[in-house]
Symmetry: C2
Subunit: 524 residues, 2 copies
Amino acid sequence: MSLLVTAFLDHAREHAPDRQIVDYVDGVCVRRSTYREQDARIRRVAGALVALGVRPGDRVATLAGNHHRHLELYLAVPLAGAVLHTVNLRLDPAEIAYVVDHAEDSVLFLDAALRPAAAPARAARPGMRVVVLDGEPEPGELAYEDLVASGDPLEGPPPRDGDDLAALCYTTGTTGAPKGVGYSHRALYLHTMAAGLADGHALSRRDRVVHLVAMFHANAWGVPLAAFMVGADQVLPGPHPRIADVATIVERERATYLGMVPTLAVDLVEHVRRTGTDLSSLRALVLGGSTPSRELIRAITEDLGVPAFQGWGMTETSPMATFSAPEPDATPEERIEQVRTQGRLLPGLRWRLVDEDGAVVPHDGVSRGELWLRGPWVASSYYRGDRPEAFTDGWLHTGDVATIDPDGRLRVVDRVKDLIKSGGEWISSLALEAALLEAPGVADVAVVAVPHERWQERPVAVVVPAGEGLDPEAVLGALAGRVPRWWCPDRVEVVDALPRTSVGKVDKRALRGALRAGEQKEVL
Amino acid sequence: MSLLVTAFLDHAREHAPDRQIVDYVDGVCVRRSTYREQDARIRRVAGALVALGVRPGDRVATLAGNHHRHLELYLAVPLAGAVLHTVNLRLDPAEIAYVVDHAEDSVLFLDAALRPAAAPARAARPGMRVVVLDGEPEPGELAYEDLVASGDPLEGPPPRDGDDLAALCYTTGTTGAPKGVGYSHRALYLHTMAAGLADGHALSRRDRVVHLVAMFHANAWGVPLAAFMVGADQVLPGPHPRIADVATIVERERATYLGMVPTLAVDLVEHVRRTGTDLSSLRALVLGGSTPSRELIRAITEDLGVPAFQGWGMTETSPMATFSAPEPDATPEERIEQVRTQGRLLPGLRWRLVDEDGAVVPHDGVSRGELWLRGPWVASSYYRGDRPEAFTDGWLHTGDVATIDPDGRLRVVDRVKDLIKSGGEWISSLALEAALLEAPGVADVAVVAVPHERWQERPVAVVVPAGEGLDPEAVLGALAGRVPRWWCPDRVEVVDALPRTSVGKVDKRALRGALRAGEQKEVL
């Protein structure tokens, strides 16, 4: 019996027909429907896709925000036997064209507001059908609601196997072209089961989840499929929700589960302090994307009264790979430290740390190595075989440098490519950034390597000040006693903002380039 | 990447090396070891099995109680590529010989005390190697600890596939010969994931489980493998633990999870009332095997202060199929009623109710049908193809008659073969028994059909009195207003004890036979 993600649609319809899918726009509820109603719409869309000529294995793209129609496609596309390709709407139009062309998408579903971003992709694939999700279709486009209205509910889906792809997502690495990660039905099925484990995200029938994580981003952390599986309510915040909207949604919907990046969580804490919004319904605020600061974890736990957790993973791991929860007997201070680690490996996955020579290093909390992962929901190749050097015998090289404690807690130290090699020793840019962030007057910081004649590389700190008159010497002075003296950056550059990639990560490649260009200019 | 249950051994060793496996005998702790130590022993036993000539797919039988060596075999046998056949030690020796011969077991591991039970099986399979788990080997036997000492740890297990069998268990139906249920690695892997779901048994790293359910019985409800997966402590109560021993173990070990049949739970409640044993560490007492009474659920919840749940399943479902937890907002009375249902279907499984004509009946809480199940850990055939009529297109006919509420709660009404057809209408023997159990002076009861010239069948109640002087008329009088008048049994037979099968179920076939024999005698 094949493991198919569409089983979770059946489960939601049969076991939670009256649970809700709720849409918000700008902090206002605009729609409520039930799994019973959503199931009928999803089957119609699947039927319409088959009628449009979509064949098993075809790729169907979305370029859309977080709303119920996007959620419907999460299941309608795999139900039709096709592969859901969620396109990152923050890519620039040329990159969107690249991934749509690389995936050879046969249909594109898009929000009307994103037509400009899709123009080059449409030019590159003139045979691609385009369906606009909202508003009036332009010439050559189909309207989504017409598909829903005209589609015959798909009762007998095409035969599919657990190894068939159900979804596809491109990584937006800061080096090289985007690489596709294909997710088989089986991988997503098992990933969804893992999302319900009591030791992990523990998604359950009692939950009301808010999808703040972008739905184009690595299956939205896997939370939508998990909500179908367990019959949880799902709340979609619509396009560009402000932090005030998020707080309003949690308060009005009595939401229980919310995932977000630390940067947004800082804003949320600040907003709640100012407004007193009631977030007490949350049983879990899960942080992911980068390591949260101690102060953020403390503020969420103590000031908001909401249990804070950290999840870690990447596009290549579907994405949940570890989960960090405090031990039941931890002191408040230990809890913060434990949630700051990337946490424990989810059951079913394997890991190892591998040094520069390819040797496995011990899990002693000190030895560092590149983290390799393997398991039923970890990619063992990229789509179309791109970049095979990222895999060895089915093990994914994550590109993250990490330690693992003897009791199994992961601590990501740096990206392999962001480590700074100075005088034959490694400097962790992440650790240096964490120390610099605690210096007074520093709002944001990135540390990158610049070439150095004697030491090979030396660190340079690029700092965004919190206010006026930041003193670079004072910033460096604040490092004393916090990091080894030789880690101290050679200089501090003050900038208004850090360059970021389309998924909000600091673009260190751009920074390194700018710094080198700056140096050359000085030389000239 | 194949889904293999032995992945959970790797997970326990790497992520919970210091968590404990604890052995008790007669309520006294006799051994503590760690997953690190157990892993080494399990690999040695697997190596010894391969050295003994066990080949992938061979069946390896156990006839043993609940102790660490039996637990080791749960993983050592699949690690060696073989199939663990746990033999029911309560079968009579001829039945043991039947299943060992049917499975063609090549090795038998047995407790020394069970040698007499194994004698006919050994005679039937003279080539079978016999390993005694405890005490001195007799001529022709090997000693388990010699295997552990001599075995080279198996580092490179034979290649196995997720579809290969990992375990085998025979059902002890009250009709016909025992039927084998083979469990693939994949089925047990997914069943183990399901055991960790927050909406189900929710086994987690925080747990200390006690294995009171016999380890020969349907993978001991799947709890041992789940404990390996999550890194929970496991406590083994040894042979024939008395209820006082169980209470002592829970109190001393601060156990968190305990599963048992309602009959034992009644004794446990009584024991705690008398002794004041502290069971407050339990986060879950899961009842399974038959529907618990309201009073039992109330007593566990209120008098013991322990959350009560019900799990339901059968050998053919690995065995967990449903889990019954109260809704978060239920009143105390509603909680009892909700836990009395068989509960909600675990994600990944499908169900339907089918009437006598093969038509699917609605889930309206009233319509009855035979429960059919299907899913990755539900058998779709018996071992060697026995009794193919129990399956239709991959659906298992459970033999249970049930209703399903509109919100998805299962209520098992009766076994198909125990329903009583009277005047063209069905009488539920289970519902009648539940009503009779509430009559004063009734300790135990079974209702069976006897042939009737006019009504086809009529119910007869066989009652075990709680004390002296039970009045059959008073028993029937107590039914007034509780069941339809025409359900009232034609007569009440008073007996000292009910006949039971090897797994403790009332043997209704034997009862029906005895009643008919009695009638014939009266006629003669």
